[in-house]
């Protein structure tokens, strides 16, 4: 019996259970000769809660069992096939044996029709029989569970049975489970990054990784040894150069001035138009920015460098990636600055204007200093966003791990290298792939710290004025 059919059947049973339990509860409530108010007093919970209670007893045990069963069934099937007389022909070598079993499974399920190893043909029948046996068995047990649970719950439907409390307890549990997913995800990220990074650091000395200045994972992959090939300093420099220097040089002045104009000068009608336009910049997918940087900005940067006569100009320049990334960050800086300028008390602004300062003097000498912590926090968040940005640098910055101050030269970043190391054919244990996780760990820690510091700064500042 296929999985979908059995799940549908159990869901159908759930609906039937809901309807019949609700009907039973309604009948219990319908005491003849009493008016509506007294009748509703006869039941502790509304009839539909009795329905839900029984339906949950039908669904939950059976579905939980099916979920577990689908995980343990393949092992049981394989074991039964191995005990079959036909399995005597299998070789002792576990690798070939696994391959033959896998082929037999695919043949039995009709996923393929050709077999490389003819021995797998003889196992098709035992396989089919075993799968049929266990899936039928699982279906029967699931249905029995559904009926047993339903019967047990149905017997409990009485006038004074507290069905609502029970159902609400389950709802509460699912709410709690849903919010625990966030913790599970965080733990999953930390665990997977740490685990793979530890494996990497068993191959490469962490000191060499964090402070080495030569990055050439290709040479390590080709067998020249891991020493000296995984120095990540050039990547860190490239990331800071593009994300924290060039991009911020674009985003901070433009974002801050936009926010000032929007909050202090623009008329409400103009603001209603201009703010969404800025927000559109944040909504454009990064792959579009990357393509734009690579197609339009980068060639013109290279031509400009060649025209001025700057040596080392490359068509994949740090400047092109950084400029476009800066534009992407503008709305981010602008909205953070907007918030913090707006939360400066109006009285401070009025006071400054009242003693005769012009608007720009008020902004420069009163509003900005007062809003500075919020602006700094916003900039830190923007930096963390910029160094984690991937597609722009993958498409527009280069792969050469240079340590240079020349913005027209090619530099590479942490995210570019993660993509580079993990795409394409790979075996999972080489130092080259594991290095990507070590880089990911560094990126995760740095962005986390930046966020914590930024939120801390913003929070302290808020406390001052509220």
């Amino acid at each position: 019996m296929s999985g979908i059919a059995i799940v549908t059947m159990i869901l159908g049973l759930g609906v039937i259970a809901w309807l019949s339990a609700r009907a039973k509860a309604s009948r219990l409530a319908a005491v003849p000769g009493k008016d509506k108010l007294q009748r509703s007093r006869a039941l502790h919970s509304l009839p539909s809660y009795h329905g839900w209670y029984v339906a949950l007893w039908v669904l939950l045990p059976a579905l939980i069992f099916l979920a577990l069963w689908s995980n343990i069934m393949p092992g049981l099937v394989t074991e039964r096939v191995m005990n079959d007389p036909a399995a005597q022909i299998l070789p002792q070598d576990s690798f070939t044996r696994g391959a033959i079993l896998g082929e037999a499974r695919n043949l039995a399920r009709g996923a393929t029709s050709v077999a490389f190893d003819q021995r797998s043909r003889t196992l098709v029948e035992p396989y089919r029989a075993a799968e049929r046996f266990y899936s039928l068995g699982g279906a029967v047990v699931a249905l029995l569970l559904a009926f047993a649970g339903g019967a047990f719950a149905f017997m409990r439907v009485k006038t004074d049975f507290r069905a609502r409390t029970r159902v609400e307890r389950i709802v509460m549990m699912s709410l709690l489970l849903a919010s625990l997913i966030a913790i599970v995800t965080t733990v999953g990220i930390v665990a997977s990054l740490l685990w793979e990074s530890l494996r990497f650091f068993s191959l490469v000395n962490p000191i060499d990784f964090l402070f080495g200045t030569k990055w050439s994972p290709q040479s390590a992959a080709m067998g020249y040894g891991n020493d000296d090939a995984f120095g990540a300093i050039p990547l860190f420099w490239g990331t800071i150069f593009i994300g924290a220097i060039i991009a911020m040089a674009v985003a901070i002045p433009l974002g801050l001035m936009s926010a000032i104009y929007l909050t202090q000068y623009a008329k409400p009608a103009a603001r209603a138009w201009l703010k969404p336009i800025l927000e559109v910049l944040a909504g454009v997918p990064t792959v579009v920015y990357g393509y734009f940087a690579a197609l339009t900005i980068a060639p013109s940067m290279r031509d400009f460098a060649a025209w001025v006569g700057i040596p080392g100009a490359s068509s994949e320049s740090a400047l092109a990636a950084g400029l476009v990334m800066g534009v992407m960050i503008i709305p981010f800086v602008s909205s953070m600055a907007d918030d913090s300028i707006n939360s400066v008390p109006q009285s401070m602004r009025d006071g400054s204007l009242a003693i005769g300062a012009t608007t720009s003097e008020t902004i420069k000498q009163v509003l900005i200093p007062a809003a500075l912590p919020g602006v700094v926090g916003g900039v830190l968040l923007a930096v963390s966003r910029a160094i984690g940005e991937t597609m722009i640098v993958v498409m527009a910055a280069g792969l050469a791990a240079n340590m240079t101050l020349n913005p027209f030269a090619s530099v590479t970043t942490v995210t570019t290298q993660i993509v580079q190391l993990l795409t394409g054919d790979q075996e999972f244990d080489s130092a080259k792939t594991l290095a990507a996780f070590a880089l990911g760990l560094v990126l995760f820690i740095v962005t986390l710290l930046l966020n914590i510091v930024a939120l801390h700064v913003v929070k302290r500042y808020r406390e001052v004025y509220e």
């Binding site: 966030a182 995800t185 801050l256 001035m257 997918p285 197609l295 720009s360 984690g388």
Partner: protein, 426 residues
């Protein structure tokens, strides 16, 4: 502090004479500085908006031609052509099969040579015979007469029609358009086909379908989980260390770079759970983890905006805490939650990096049939095409970007509409 009596030496300072030249100059300087500052602010906005306009114009300029293709008129003399076909067999359901074996590629290139000159077959696309096949399938009676069909031109000819190509292709284009056998037509295939190696043959349907499946998985997981988590945190959670941990991890997850989620997907979903590589299922799971915090944060804000008086009223007439939330708070907060969800989904739709990590960058020439089939998504398709060397891919990449931006614009417009229509001021 001019104009204030200074008492020590008894000398009286005169009030500031605002009419004096010095003061007038000073005021003029301050006002000029005010105007400059204001102009700089306006300039910053205009520069940002100008960049957006430049981006859109350059994408439109490059991409609009991707929706158009160059077609060449070729006359077919079907009765004399060496087609191995029996018109009767075409009536059955297996017309495609019959026509695939009917020697059509050779017939097509022969007809092109006859119609366009010796090198004629190099100016029609390598897949032009598919057009002939479809024409025959639509109307088998053309097999008994001479018929002029418009076939898609080759990549070189297409480029020549749109501006830049080799001198040879330019010359051929000039010759053919002089002969009046060339026209431009809407490239329907771009919307219905999948990835291919020849830029004139590519389409985005496969990637769109992959995006659709991925988004469905993402929505099915992140929406319920996000809403339930938001309800718990906002309505029921006791203030203790666990709740703080949940809040901290949700806020951090919202700020974690997307590529880290890709690493998580690779390590957990592919290497530990052995889910199928490149499938929409894994892509959707990964993006769901990324979208969930966005929905939780938007959901909490929407729930917070529901006034406490509503909860008090419901509790007062005897509703249980769960009934209060599910019967009253949630329906009132739903528009806000929907807005946040749509914005989160729009971000997920444009996301590329985590999907590269889990292998959705393979060359997939047919649209996926389900969520476990290998698939690619629109942004990844854009990335893959942008890496192609062939010049014909430039307009296709930009055209795909136009399609992606239209989708995002649509989703964001819906979000803004919902916000404006259902937003309540209590």
């Amino acid at each position: 502090m001019t104009g204030i009596l200074s008492e020590g030496n008894g000398a009286r300072r005169l009030p500031t004479d605002w009419k004096s030249d010095a003061m007038q100059r000073r005021i003029a300087t301050r006002y000029a500085s005010e105007r400059r500052f204001r102009a700089i602010g306006l300039g910053a906005i205009i520069l940002s908006a100008g960049f957006l306009a430049f981006l859109i114009v350059s994408m439109l300029g490059n991409g609009l031609s991707g929706f158009v293709r160059t077609e060449v008129a070729v006359e077919f003399d079907f009765p004399t052509a060496p087609i191995v076909i029996d018109a009767a067999t075409l009536q059955g359901g297996n017309a495609d099969m019959v026509l695939s074996n009917a020697n059509l590629p050779a017939v097509t290139s022969g007809a092109a040579k006859a119609a366009l000159g010796e090198d004629g077959d190099s100016w029609i696309g390598s897949h032009a015979w598919l057009t002939v096949r479809d024409a025959i399938k639509d109307d088998p009676s053309i097999l008994e007469r001479r018929e002029t069909l418009y076939l898609p031109g080759s990549a070189d000819l297409d480029l020549a029609a749109k501006g830049e190509a080799s001198a040879e292709a330019e010359a051929a284009y000039a010759r053919l358009s002089e002969a009046g056998v060339i026209k431009s037509a809407l490239n329907i295939d771009f919307l219905t086909a999948s990835d291919a190696t020849d830029p004139t043959q590519v389409g985005i349907w496969g990637a769109l379908k992959g995006s659709l499946f991925t988004m469905l998985v993402t929505l099915a997981l992140s929406f319920p989980i996000g809403v339930l988590a938001a309800l718990y945190l906002e309505e029921y959670a006791p203030r203790n260390r666990w709740t703080d941990m949940i809040e901290v991890s949700i806020n951090n997850l919202a700020a974690v770079p997307s590529i880290i989620f890709g690493l998580l997907g690779l390590a957990i979903f592919l290497n530990v759970m052995h889910l199928p590589r490149s499938a929409s299922l894994v892509g959707g799971l990964t993006l769901a983890l990324m979208t969930m915090p966005v929905i939780v944060i938007a959901g909490r804000n929407a729930i917070k905006a529901v006034p406490p008086s509503i909860r008090d009223a419901a509790l007062g007439i005897g509703a249980s805490p769960i009934q209060v939330v599910f019967h009253h708070v949630l329906p009132l907060a739903l528009p806000g939650i929907m807005t946040g969800t749509i914005i989160g989904m729009a971000r997920a739709l444009g996301e590329t990096a985590p999907l590269l990590m889990i292998g959705m960058r393979a060359f997939i020439a047919s649209p996926p049939g389900g969520i476990t089939d290998p698939a690619t998504v629109l942004p990844v398709q854009i990335f893959l095409w942008s890496d192609e060397v062939s010049r014909g891919f430039v307009e296709k990449t930009s055209a795909a970007i136009i399609v992606l931006l239209i989708f995002l614009l649509g989703m964001n417009s819906i979000a803004i509409y919902l916000r404006n229509k259902f937003e309540k001021r209590w």
